[in-house]
Subunit: 161 residues, 6 copies
Amino acid sequence: MRISAVYPGTFDPVTYGHVDLIKRGAAIFDHLYVAVLKNTDKLPLFTVEERVEMLEEVVRAFRNVSVTTFCGLLVDYAEKVGASVIVRGIRAVSDYEYELQMAMMNRRLSARVETVFMMPAEAYSYLSSRLVKEISLLGGSVKGLVPPGVEKRLKKKHLGA
Amino acid sequence: MRISAVYPGTFDPVTYGHVDLIKRGAAIFDHLYVAVLKNTDKLPLFTVEERVEMLEEVVRAFRNVSVTTFCGLLVDYAEKVGASVIVRGIRAVSDYEYELQMAMMNRRLSARVETVFMMPAEAYSYLSSRLVKEISLLGGSVKGLVPPGVEKRLKKKHLGA
Amino acid sequence: MRISAVYPGTFDPVTYGHVDLIKRGAAIFDHLYVAVLKNTDKLPLFTVEERVEMLEEVVRAFRNVSVTTFCGLLVDYAEKVGASVIVRGIRAVSDYEYELQMAMMNRRLSARVETVFMMPAEAYSYLSSRLVKEISLLGGSVKGLVPPGVEKRLKKKHLGA
Amino acid sequence: MRISAVYPGTFDPVTYGHVDLIKRGAAIFDHLYVAVLKNTDKLPLFTVEERVEMLEEVVRAFRNVSVTTFCGLLVDYAEKVGASVIVRGIRAVSDYEYELQMAMMNRRLSARVETVFMMPAEAYSYLSSRLVKEISLLGGSVKGLVPPGVEKRLKKKHLGA
Amino acid sequence: MRISAVYPGTFDPVTYGHVDLIKRGAAIFDHLYVAVLKNTDKLPLFTVEERVEMLEEVVRAFRNVSVTTFCGLLVDYAEKVGASVIVRGIRAVSDYEYELQMAMMNRRLSARVETVFMMPAEAYSYLSSRLVKEISLLGGSVKGLVPPGVEKRLKKKHLGA
Amino acid sequence: MRISAVYPGTFDPVTYGHVDLIKRGAAIFDHLYVAVLKNTDKLPLFTVEERVEMLEEVVRAFRNVSVTTFCGLLVDYAEKVGASVIVRGIRAVSDYEYELQMAMMNRRLSARVETVFMMPAEAYSYLSSRLVKEISLLGGSVKGLVPPGVEKRLKKKHLGA
């Protein structure tokens, strides 16, 4: 059995929490598509191209992971690339409820795609892209929260350097 | 990559919620071990042998599922059978928190075994072995909640028939 | 339309939280059956007779409330007395999940009985029979938490007076 | 005792989850006012008139349900139409907390109006107007999630047909 | 040991829930800084100056409480004023998760500042600045929810009087 | 202002999660009483004397911490030793609700004692005495979860050595 999985997200920007989950997903599925959502209405800090670039620096270490983008329904994208699994990270209870709701709906939209939930390492349980952007904006250090390439780009964005 | 998974539980008795999860797990992992926990201190209604028997009637339909038993640490058992994944079903928030705690602890006990969470169909989201036993004991019908073989055995237990 | 409702519970003993809910239930349903569960396996502090007695002192003030007992399935009892509603109080999130699970199951056992949830006054949001028994056992005052008749009986139980 | 109830909401648009709750509310209260909130600051997809129209197609089947609109405080509206009950659906834990907060506040604003919570069928537990709009916008099918009239209108909105 | 604490917030406007927490914080810490956050992107109803003014009317009663403002990282501000404790109020589960996430992140940003959580009185458990503004805007009375000075200012804002 | 605090618990046995909280509590209160609850009905693994002994090995490093025991109401004990604060650790949502309920009740029993909640380090967020005992009983290693003295005693208990 060869099982491909999609790990979808906004990744604005990628954090060590995401990296941790990519590592865990890559260890149990034959191929992992890290898929950047394009049609979000939230105004992102980084363009889709920048986000793909930062992710690609990160996934270079894994031979069975590729970075892609998608718009439209997630299950349609999963079916298109032949993935039968959607990987989602769960942390807090509030996450969890929203995730379950989405998973239920995705199951209804396609019975051929299954959602599995995985946990990031506890050190990253409080980490989110939103928090990283907030801290960076307020001049705090995000070392240890995001890969060095992301750290550099965040500084540039906020300092206009 | 060949990935085996363990789906551990007490299965006292197996419900359609468990069956649903077995089906989902069998679809994305190469082999699924449905593993009955032996060393529980809760007094079970069915013996380990009866529980294995009921599960075996159920898994007959899947070619990559086998029923086993284990005692001791779950991660030790997973490593022994060469499984790198533990499958757990999640429903309610209270489940979820206990499950996360166990998963974190299991990760600490062995970094080689990863826990993934899957959702049963929403029709089974309120279903539990405990509730099934309670209803059966009070004379209610459990048809549609458990496989026919389990239904028969429950009646026998409670009626002494 | 004439709607009767059942408010089931262990009431071991009745607290002001229960009384508050009885008042609210009595205000919107034509008749409210406060139904003491008989077949619990938890060892109660008060006998069913004592619990009925304490409740009867309380419901005397309401003309459309009666105290009863039941064993077996709650929905069977509701149908027997012609009630189409089960009233349950909700407070904490943990309550809520268990209550939803029970309500889903009861709906499955009988589509003719609907569960509605009501909130006690916030002053009673932290109150439970268990906590009242614990405080009383440790010699604390339960004045303001339970009706005077219950307070007296609790003292008697714990002092053997 | 004659009890009228208000079931308030944005209904942008009405889903089968709402319809399920209307059916349950209509079964236990003498009259049910399905009340569309007018003064929301969220930009709706459908105008108040369109939402009322879609609801009216739905409630035609019930003899004791009427569709209305309101602005201002919900409890003021309830008192104005002589309703002593507010009906709210609850699904996830996050819903539940917000709902409890609103119910507590409404109770403070008027002690004459009581909030009762009811559960939609589990098949609709993951359903929300927001999700329906999202799926429709992304070109997914919402058949089985909303009444046919709503389905048609959603298509028209998103295709500009 | 002399321990100063910071109680940060938007206070738009201060409610009796905040006042309750200020009283509790002032009772166990040597000095309490009630610190109004300046760099919020949410559009506030009251200016920072108005919010400080309303808070100052309230804290006059406490000899070890002062009202201040801050921008930038909270932990930087705490260190600047020599506070080793951040005080946060917790009510609902959803609050709690966000609060834990923030506290974890703040601990990471500075190990010299500890977050402690305290509970407002249960009468204020459903109270929030947002709800107060909503009720006031809809013409409802906020007496008993906010201090008289805030009540007056809210009326002025909404009536343009 | 001189503030003493009580950190109550069963400590059966003390874990590094407890030690972490003791360290945090000792840093912000003038004196911290680590108080072992005597009148629990749960059958403990270690006697009160053993639990006190293990705690004393741990608190030796702190000059303002002492180990004590108590029975009866916690607030009565706090008042007796002149403590105006109860310190409790919170982790999961389920903890949190029980803790809030207890804190509300304790506040009602004595308005002179305030409960504050603190978070253990995230590395200990999944750690509990129950889990430690379970792992040890099943032959797993608890190194890094409990102090060395506790580890030794656990082995002795379970091996009868």
